[in-house]
Every structure is written in C-alpha cells, then in structure tokens.
C-alpha cells in the first residue's frame, strides 16, 4: 500500500511533468518517430529500385531475415565482439581507473592522456589501424606473418576487437573512476586496520560499493558494442564474414536500397538492444545514475 501523496508532493510532481514536457516532445520527434517509421517500413516490401511494387506484406520480412544464414552469422560476430570487448575493457578499464584515481603527480596529465583514444574520431582511428595492418603501408602487418591479416576471418576479427578495445577502454575507465570516487577512504582504512589484504580490500570493499557504477558502465558499453559499425566498415567492410548486424543493415539499406529488409534488421537490432537493457536493469538491478533509492526523496 502506498501512502497518499501530500498536496505539496502532488504540486511538485505536476511541475516536474511540465518541466519535462518540452524535452519529452523533442524526444518523441527525433527518436520515437523514426523508430515507428522503421517498424512501418519493416512490414512492407519496399525497394527503392522498384518504387511501383511497394506493398504491405506483414511479417514476411521478419521471416526472411530470421531464417537467413547471413543474418545469424552477423549476429554471432556481433555477440562475439560484444562479449569479448566488454569483458576485456572492464578489466583494463578498472586497472586504468585505479591508476588514474591513485595518481598524485600530474593527475590532470595522466587522465587527459588516457582519454586520447576516446577523443579520436573512430573512423580516423580505424583508418590508421587499417594502414598499420596492411602489408606495405603498415608497420604491424609484417610483424606477425607474411600475409594480410585483414583478409582472413580470425585475424580480421581479432584486429576489429583490438581497435574497439583500444578506443573505448578509456570510456570504461572514466565511468569506473566515478565509481571509485564513491568508495569512502574511511572504509578502506578500517578494512586495512582489520587486516584485509589489498586484494581483499578490492574484492570485499571496493567492488560491492562500486557495483552500481560497474553495472552502469557495463550496460553502456554493451549497448554501444552491440552496435559496432565504424571499425568494421573501415577495416574489412564486412568481407570474409566479419559483418556485424549494423553493417548488414547498412548494406541492405544503402547498397541494396531495400528499405523493407533493412528496416527489419534495424528493428531487430533495436529489440535486441532493448532486451539487453532489460536484462541489465531487471536482473542485475542496474540503476540509472541518480535513480537509486538513496537519491530519492
């Protein structure tokens, strides 16, 4: 049973809604409309090459995509990239966060330089990776083998993941550093007094306190990683079965001009992202920053 709201609370709520309204309207215009439009497109046979043959076909596009091996290959690749990169980024990001948190000398410089990869436009970074891994133009390709690593599936996927990790670990570290700041020094000192080792202090004190921050960081990165596009577009353009679902959607939309199939893929990507977010929020109890119980009045 909820207690009835007081007059003051009700008025506060109304004001809250009013203040939110403009932002909500903008959100509807720029996100909700395109989403509903792609859902509408996904129910049609609509190919720009054949403008006269546009028709409503229900869920047929979904059947086509979901029974297609290219889609599932791309889905597997996307999942692999997501799981591997987020896991590696979490470990590396935690290390980086602790270093940045603990640095006393040149703190600003350390933090700024650690963030450089994240500040570089992904496409630009991806091009430098591509040249680095291409025989003749790069310094990395001939380091490991005589071949062209970007033309073979396993090595190409490895390079894509490496580029992703290099790029977004700083972001992970940034979020985790915010979490580290939540850990009270007194708590660590007390644990230390009780004889806890450094590892024990980390696992038994810091991690539990940081849990909300870690989950938020994981959620953000997982959603981001699942939409991986730029690195693949530049590094392999999806050759040798290295396409992600976003690449596949792009190819069907922009190259194939097939708005029906392409929109279907976009909607499926959207749904997958929604499911991932749901799992994080409901099962792991991830909270958006500021919405935890302590923050509530």
């Amino acid at each position: 049973m909820k207690a009835p709201l007081s007059e003051g609370k009700k008025a506060e709520r109304r004001l809250g809604w009013l203040l939110c309204a403009p932002a909500a309207l903008v959100m509807v215009a720029v996100t909700a409309y395109p989403i509903f439009y792609s859902v509408w497109l996904s129910l049609q046979r609509f190919d720009l090459k054949f403008p006269d043959q546009r028709e409503f076909i229900g869920l047929e596009n979904y059947v086509t995509v979901l029974t297609n091996e290219f889609w599932w290959t791309a889905f597997g690749v996307t999942m692999l990239i997501t799981v591997v990169t987020v896991a590696v980024e979490l470990v590396l990001g935690m290390g980086l966060a602790i270093i940045m948190h603990r640095t006393i000398i040149g703190r600003g410089l350390v933090r700024t330089s650690a963030l450089i990869p994240y500040g570089i436009v992904t496409v630009v970074a991806a091009f430098s990776w591509r040249y680095a891994w291409t025989p003749d133009t790069g310094y990395l390709a001939n380091l490991f083998s005589d071949g062209a690593p970007l033309t073979e599936r396993a090595s190409a996927l490895g390079i894509i993941m490496l580029a992703e990790i290099w790029k977004t670990t700083p972001f992970m570290a940034l979020l985790l550093m915010a979490g580290l700041a939540l850990v009270p020094d007194d708590l660590l000192k007390a644990a230390s007094m009780d004889g806890a080792s450094a590892w024990q202090r980390f696992t038994k004190v810091m991690l539990p306190v940081m849990k909300p921050a870690i989950l938020v960081a994981l959620l953000f990165r997982t959603l981001d990683a699942f939409r991986v596009f730029d690195n693949i577009y530049v590094l392999t353009a999806g050759a040798n079965q290295t396409s992600s679902v976003s690449m596949l959607a792009y190819n069907n939309l922009m190259k194939g001009l097939n708005l029906g199939i392409g929109s279907t893929m976009s909607v499926l990507i959207f749904l997958t992202v929604a499911v991932i977010a749901f799992i994080f929020v409901k099962l792991f109890g991830t909270a958006a920053p500021g919405s935890s119980d302590e923050g509530r009045r």
Binding site: R45, D47, L48, K49, F50, P51, T64, V65, N68, F70, W71, A74, A148, T151, G238, A239, N240, S243, M247, L248, Y250, N251, N252, M254, K255, G256, L257, N258, G260, I261
Partner: protein, 403 residues
C-alpha cells in the same frame, strides 16, 4: 558584387551550371574545357569528382537521388547500374535526335548495357574489356581455351619456369565478371532475356566447372582468392606469371613498371571454354545519364553528348587509356601507337558479353560473389542450384544481401 552571383550559376539569367558527377579520370577536365568552349555560354560543365571506389560512387549518387537532390545533372554510371537507376525513376531516357546521335556508330554491347525496357537511358562514354596477356618467351602459341591454358601452365610448372595464370579471384565484382565471361563463352545464361528469372542453365554449370578446375589445377598464385586488378598486375610485373587476364590498363603500367619485361609480353583474345568457339568477354565501362531532378535537362543532354563525342572519346582513349565506344575511332591512325592491342579489343567488343541486365544487379552480383568464393569450393551442379534460388530471391528483393 557580380562575381559571386555568376559563380553560383543556375540563377536567373546566369549561365546554367551542369554538374557532372564522374569517377576520377585524369584528363577529363580537358574534355570538359573543350565542351565549355563549344557551348559558347549556353551552359558550363563543372566536374564533380566521385570517390575512387565503385561502391562509394554508387552510394553517393543513390543517396542523393533518393532524396531528390537537384544538384546533380549528368551522372557517370558504371555499365551495371543503368537499369537500376532507370527502374528507380532517377534518370531520364534519351529521346529524339540525342538518342539517334548516341546510337550512331556506337558498339552494340555498350549500347545494350544502356537500355532498359526498350528505352535508352545512358550514352556509353567508354567501354572496356579484358585481354589475355602472356609471356612470349615462355608461351609459343597463346591458348585458345581454358583447358589449353591450364595444360600449358602445368607444363611450364614441370619445367620449373614461371607458370602462374594470374587473374582476379577475390570476393568482389571482379570474380563476378570472370564468371560472367565463362558463362557467356560457354553459351550459357545466368538470367532470362527479360532479366526477371534466374536460369543458370547447362552453360552456367559448365562455367562453374571451368572456374573450379582452374582454381584447383595448381596454376594460380597463392593469393588468387584475395587478388584484385592491381594485385594481379603487380604479381605479373614481378615475373611470376606466364599468363595474365586483365584490363588493358596493365599495358602502360607494365612499360613503366617493368620495361624489360614489357618487351616479352604479348596479348591475345581471352581464352574460350570450347575449342573453336571464341570467348565472349564481359564488357565494362561508363554510361552518361541525365538526372531526373536536373533543373537543366536539355543542357545536360547536350553536355553529355559533347563529352562522349568522337573527338573527345579519342582524346580520352589516348590520354586516359579508356577504350572508345564509337567503332570508327579504332580505325584512327593515332590510336595505333596508344593502343597497339586495339584490334583484339575491338574483336572482343564486337561480341562482348554484358553482365545480367536487371535493376537488381547489385544484389545479384553480391550473391554471386559470395557464393562463388572461394572458387575451389565450387561443386558445379549444387552451386548452380543454390545460385538459382538465391539469385531469384535477390531479383525479387526478397533475400538478405550478404554484408
């Protein structure tokens, strides 16, 4: 105050600007300058250079045309895109005198690539066709069939000589063109006449057999399945190959890059599939089309006609190496020096093979390149059955394009 206005062009009273979107071609600006001079102020062509990659060129044009962009007037379309752009209602048909002028003296193959549903949608500006390049010091008689060429290469291999047959085998358009040549040479068909149905008949199956046999005969280079045009050229220039199947651009490059080898390189017609049956080789090239959204269609047609007229085509052939589409140019004495292989090119062009003519070519090509790659894994009959299904889906824009 007048200058900035004039630079905008297209404004009231000003000289209409005709924006030509065309792939990079080194000396095309000279052609455009000629045409601007000829126009005497009726219009002014501006050369907007498209990206180098064919996919990037197409995506840029498609995206802008789908949005009804009025800033594009004349478009340089790869021969495989004309039907798609016509079907999507993005380009205007050539009619009346302009059409008659385009058709006059133009080779049948390139002209065929510019037609869609009995109308002409493009003016062939240049064409292209691959030849067989071979080492005259190793090969006595250029092979007339693939079987012959494979046997010759194997013999050279046994003798410890350079033996490789170098051509494009990566998963991309080049592999599709390769297969298309084999199908046409075997008298087969990929699609029916209307381009509405996937056929993959007996000839198409035999083409698959040849492709598979070639890939597994031990005569290709190790990087066959990764090789694009330029990789093939470089491999041949480095002396590993006895044969090279490639576009004519390799010839000037060879003279510049490996002059001592150039003296030992001859050319011949692309090998066929059956003895006594000359090959039919896939033609490439560019068609000029006028955008439906152009504000100055009349001037745009006129500009396109000028760019592709006989004099300018000859200029481009000699200076940029692109083979002309007007047959009479080949007889011009000036061509002999720039194009010593012009007789072979013309012979192949006279019965050249177009790639499947359908608005869905991009999809068909993607499906083909994925299924044919790697060629060593082809199982002719099964692969043909698989292709018949997936290409049919691609034609009906039902299937998923592989990424």
């Amino acid at each position: 105050m007048l200058l900035p206005l004039a630079a905008c062009g297209g404004g009231d009273g000003g000289v209409p600007t005709i924006n030509l979107y065309y792939p990079p071609e080194q000396n095309l600006q000279t052609v455009i300058d000629n045409c601007n001079e000829q126009a005497q102020g009726r219009y002014r062509i501006e050369y907007r250079v498209l990206p180098r990659g064919a996919d990037d060129q197409r995506v840029q044009m498609v995206r802008r045309l789908a949005a009804g962009d009025r800033g594009m007037d004349v478009l340089g379309l790869d021969v495989t895109w004309t039907q798609e752009f016509a079907s999507a209602n993005w380009i205007l048909p050539w009619t009346g005198d302009a059409r008659a002028e385009v058709e006059r003296g133009t080779l049948a193959g390139p002209l065929e690539s510019a037609r869609y549903e009995d109308e002409l949608f493009g003016a062939p500006k240049n064409t292209n066709v691959q030849l067989l390049w071979y080492r005259t010091d190793l090969v006595e008689q250029p092979p007339e069939t693939w079987d012959d060429m494979i046997a010759q290469a194997q013999r050279l291999k046994e003798q410890g000589q350079p033996y490789q047959v170098l051509t494009m085998g990566a998963q991309y358009e080049g592999l599709v063109a390769f297969y298309n040549t084999l199908v046409a040479s075997a008298g087969g068909q990929i699609l029916n006449e209307d381009g509405t149905e996937a056929v993959f008949d007996e000839g198409a199956v035999r083409a698959l057999e040849v492709l598979q046999r070639f890939a597994t005969a031990g005569v290709t280079s190790a990087s066959f399945t990764n090789a694009l045009e330029d990789d093939v050229r470089l491999a041949f220039q480095s002396g590993n190959g006895a044969f090279q199947l490639n576009w004519p651009f390799v010839y000037p490059a060879l003279q510049e890059g490996a002059p001592e080898l150039a003296d030992k390189v001859g050319w011949a017609r692309y090998p066929g599939v059956d003895a006594g049956q000359p090959s039919r080789v896939t033609i490439g090239g560019v068609n000029l089309a006028v955008s439906r959204f152009s504000d100055h269609p009349d001037e745009a047609f006129e500009a396109a006609l000028c760019i592709r007229d006989a004099e300018n085509q000859k200029f481009s052939a000699i200076n940029d190496g692109v083979p002309p589409t007007i047959e009479s140019i080949y007889a011009d004495p000036e061509m002999t020096e720039a194009y010593p292989m012009k007789d072979e090119i013309l012979a192949e062009l006279r019965d050249g093979a177009t790639r499947p003519l359908t608005p869905a070519y991009q999809n068909v090509s993607t499906v083909l390149s994925v299924t044919l790659s790697p060629p060593s894994a082809i199982r002719p009959q099964e692969t043909a059955d698989e292709l018949r299904r997936s290409v049919q889906d691609a034609l009906e824009s039902k299937g998923v394009l592989p990424g």
